[in-house]
């Protein structure tokens, strides 16, 4: 269970060389009480799609048992599309070398 104000969201970055990788990662959580605060449980096996700046599909991963996902992108603007039974949500994100884009996506 996460609480309001917890830091986002993705898997541990131990062993990831952030000087060479532009990481986009995060966690997909249920919006527990539908109040816009991401305090719900992890969504396991949601599908997260990465689209490039032209909206072209680039990659897709299922979330893990903690609802987490990760992409190794290139610096720039990207869009995430989160799919789960009955749910589709788009999120814009910027990737950069050095600092991972780390998100909570509530559905």
């Amino acid at each position: 269970m996460r609480t309001c104000g917890a830091t986002p969201g993705g898997p541990s970055l131990d062993g990831v060389d952030l000087t060479t990788q532009s990481v986009i990662q995060g966690a997909v959580l249920r919006d527990g009480i539908a109040d816009g605060v991401p305090n719900g449980t992890p969504v396991v096996n949601a599908h997260v799609r990465l689209l490039d700046r032209d909206g072209e599909f680039t990659a897709e991963v299922p979330t893990n048992t903690q609802g987490q996902f990760r992409f190794f992108a290139a610096p720039g603007a990207w869009t995430l599309v989160v799919l789960a039974p009955g749910v589709r949500k788009e999120v814009s994100v910027q990737a950069a070398l050095g600092t991972p884009a780390d998100l909570i996506v509530e559905i």
Partner: protein, 277 residues
């Protein structure tokens, strides 16, 4: 080619879970998925441990393929239904593999594991046991497999379809974006190849687009479907997906999957390479 002979729906699978003539086989890129949960009755093949030679870079031998299927209770007349994660990439590779060794009735679940999950259908962790068989494979059918010299000779003469993402085609990325951007080989694509990402053949839920949409996709990108075609990607899985679209769904006759793909071509000395869109 009729779609019904090569594809089944998730609903068909739900109604055939106890059909003894059907063997469900899950093949994933992320091989931990099967143990987290799979369709009732499904066995799994590991894309590397079961399907790669391990010593040399090649498919397993005919004898090893026969042993693998025999051990897993698949007979020559079994309807093999493949599915997997990541929009059926590795399941389609396994489909191509079954056709290399001449299995008669092999099909894919349209949309694969993703569609099954988006349908909110049940997954189980129980691993089934199937009674062993004595499977007899055919010799390899190399009419659906391209090798490097044939690919080099095809530059400017045959259709070459690069099914990777635009960023890999242009040379911006070296691998799909869910994998670390590693690899000693150079980046770019085979000259004269058309970039038609595998993903354009699939709907967002992983199911295949209609035949009319698929024909328009390839012809619209400048592929003359009357000519011979070679598809490639990075390691041959995504191009097996596009091979399936062209050869099995659209019934285009001479289509080969170049499973050496960019990891081989991009490491060859002296061959021509193009970069940019």
């Amino acid at each position: 080619m009729s779609r019904e002979k090569v594809l089944v729906t998730t609903e068909w699978v739900s109604q055939n879970l106890d059909n003894p003539k059907v063997a469900l086989v899950e093949v994933d890129e992320d091989t931990t998925l099967y143990n987290q949960g799979h369709i009732q009755g499904a066995i799994t093949f590991h894309w590397r441990d079961d399907l790669q030679d391990g010593l040399i870079r090649d498919l397993i031998s005919k004898e090893k393929f026969e042993a693998l299927l025999s051990k897993n209770g698949i007979a020559n007349d079994t309807t093999v239904v493949l599915y997997g994660g990541n929009n059926n990439w590795f399941a389609t590779y396994a489909y191509w593999y079954f056709k290399i060794y001449g299995h008669q009735d092999v099909r894919l679940i349209d949309g694969g594991r993703k569609r099954w999950e988006l349908d909110a259908r049940a997954l189980v962790t129980e691993v089934p046991t199937r009674t062993a068989t004595r499977y007899v494979a055919h010799d390899r059918d190399n009419s659906i497999r391209a090798y490097r010299d044939e690919v080099i000779a095809a530059i400017g003469t045959r259709n070459i379809v690069d099914v990777r993402s635009p960023a890999e085609f242009s040379g911006e990325l070296a691998a799909p974006a869910h994998l670390p951007q590693e690899g000693g080989q150079i980046k770019g694509h085979i000259p004269t190849a058309k970039n038609i990402p595998w993903s354009k053949a699939a709907n967002e839920d992983g199911t295949f687009k209609s035949e009319a949409e698929l024909t328009a996709l390839y012809e619209g990108a400048g592929v003359d479907l009357a000519k011979d075609t070679i598809a490639y990607c990075r390691i041959g899985e995504r191009s097996a997906f596009s091979w399936f679209v062209l050869h099995e769904l659209l019934g285009v006759s001479n289509v080969k999957n170049y499973d050496g793909s960019w990891t081989e071509y991009g490491s060859l000395v002296g061959v021509p390479v193009a970069v940019g869109a």
